[in-house]
Symmetry: C2
Subunit: 340 residues, 2 copies
């Protein structure tokens, strides 16, 4: 099926989306269908808002990114920003610029992913804008969340001796992307070749369908922990540690042997690409894990948590160092991020 | 000056913007600089959210759209959506996809317009995302506003006999665009030609720098009027009347001789383009005036208002008719909007 978008028109398209946008949150008073959505929060709760834009050929490559995964990921990366404030996402708006090469079915695929993420993170789609583009797909999502004022976690409140924690494991999304790019290159050189990606399925999934760690936000609340500072890992651990340190006016010490690296990440880094797993963990972006600091007093509550690693501590000295496996002290630097 | 964006990088760019983003609203608790902005509203106030995306070559042509005006307009069209809910805008987020042909100075121009609109409408810039694009400029803005729950005006609450009102005058933005396109065409055919746009400055301004009618929202509040239904005129009066009627399950009667058409709009339509001024008023988009309905009892309060015209009334019969100057009754149709 390839139904041109012109066949259903803008309003047909909005009706289609509106029908699928079921309400999950009582703070959604009015969703899609007027000039603006109407939201409402309890007096002691604050409203959080964040926005992320994904651009074809810059952030994703449709030759290996299924549209459904793209829709899911676009929501997840936004939800991750609300999680990084210790907040709970409530609503999203989705704006799309699409060229007319997309069919109705393709958009349905994209929205299937968006709605799957809305289910997974219990957020309501409340509005958006859909327009054509001269070339390429652009997705801009804004997420609105809530948090009690005294539970909001900023980047700048870390204290000396606070423990640096990270969720999950790192470097997987970067290796997933590297694998996909290798397969694409090989496929272009030899179209008869069968893609060899099934055996790396879990790493590829880390790239194509990352999860926001909203589960950890709920668990921290249950454990009675409010992090002193928090950020999500989109550009790579090193870059995010530098952010936390800069904003808090502190330094940090990280231990290489404490970095959470999955066995598959470790093996693929070494065997397939001959790169250091530590480099992948420090500088590979898009893991969307959470990096946060907690008071020493809270250490007992998380020390046995399967999915939280303690990787170092904050210090008054503004040096930011990595202690390597052989006990060398190296300054931590971020590869940095250059989009332009 | 042409400083490549790469020279200042993403963080240099964010710092630059953050410095200019002064706080205007106490509901802005934390603006730019963390994973999300933090907003707060009084318990009896609700949060409104709307989003609009502008795409180069679809919504604007940089060959005649100055970047500063583009920035202003991008904010104004979003503010207009909050006004159309009878709300007061408070914050915006701005996401940009820009190609590397843009310089730092070009972005400064764009943001000069964005900040000018932030001043004009008293909104706070609280976040956003800036990324590169493979081709073309995309601006996605989300606006967040507030309104008391019992003062929010939807599209679906118009009642039979309610009076249809429109602010300002109509058709100017469409003629402004038509003039700009003519000048561009002539310039491309004969580059030595001097553009002849100064004598049409006010119409061109309607296209390049439209204003959201937030002033009317404040005035309606002072007059003690809560419209029964409201929508902003982005696609053209006819299209918006059809929306109000459909959502409210009603019909309407409009009077051609009541349509507010400025003298310059009238003259340029006839003399320059030989088109009907009524057609411009009904189907020309982008005026960003407000279309709303009020109870008959409120008529006295607005009948002498210089900037509000009463153009017809709502009726139970679902027919939507225009009574022409020579008393013919014609069904009102919208040219419709086809982006794809």
């Amino acid at each position: 099926m390839h139904t041109p978008l012109a066949n259903i028109g803008e309003f047909g398209f909005i009706d289609r989306i509106k029908k699928q946008a079921t309400r999950k949150n009582s703070s959604t008073i009015k969703g899609i269908g007027d000039d603006a959505a109407v939201l409402g929060y309890e007096p002691n709760e604050k409203v959080l808002v964040s926005t992320d834009m994904l651009v074809e050929k810059i952030h994703f490559d449709l030759s290996y990114m299924p549209l459904k995964h793209l829709g899911y990921k676009a929501v997840a990366v936004n939800v991750s920003d609300i999680a990084a404030m210790n907040g709970i996402p409530q609503q999203i708006t989705v704006s799309l610029a699409i060229s007319n090469r997309f069919s109705v079915e393709a958009l349905d695929e994209l929205y299937a992913g968006i709605f799957a993420a809305c289910e997974a993170y219990q957020v309501d789609l409340v509005g958006g804008d859909t327009t054509s583009s001269a070339a390429g797909l652009v997705i801009s999502i804004t997420v609105i969340g809530k948090a009690a004022l005294d539970k909001i976690v900023y980047r700048h409140m870390a204290q000396p001796t606070d423990i640096l924690c990270v969720t999950g494991d790192l470097g997987g999304a970067y290796l997933g992307l590297t694998l996909l790019e290798r397969e694409k290159r090989e496929f272009l050189e030899n179209p008869d070749m069968q893609p060899d990606i099934d055996r790396f399925a879990s790493l590829i999934r880390r790239q194509l369908k990352p999860e926001a760690r909203l589960d950890i936000i709920h668990e921290l609340a249950e454990l009675g922990i409010i992090p002193t500072a928090m950020i999500d890992i989109s550009d790579g651990l090193a870059s995010e540690v530098l952010h936390l340190c800069k904003e808090s006016g502190l330094g940090a010490v990280l231990f290489e042997d404490k970095l959470p690296i999955d066995k598959e990440t470790y093996n693929v880094a070494i065997e397939e690409f001959k790169i250091s797993p530590t480099t992948c963990a420090l500088n590979g972006g898009e893991d969307y894990e959470l990096l946060f600091t907690i008071k020493q007093a809270d250490f007992e509550k998380i020390k046995n948590h399967e999915d939280i690693s303690t990787i170092g501590y904050m210090q008054k000295d503004t040096a930011i160092n990595l202690v390597s496996r052989n006990n060398q002290v190296l300054p931590l630097t971020a590869q940095g991020w250059k989009h332009f």
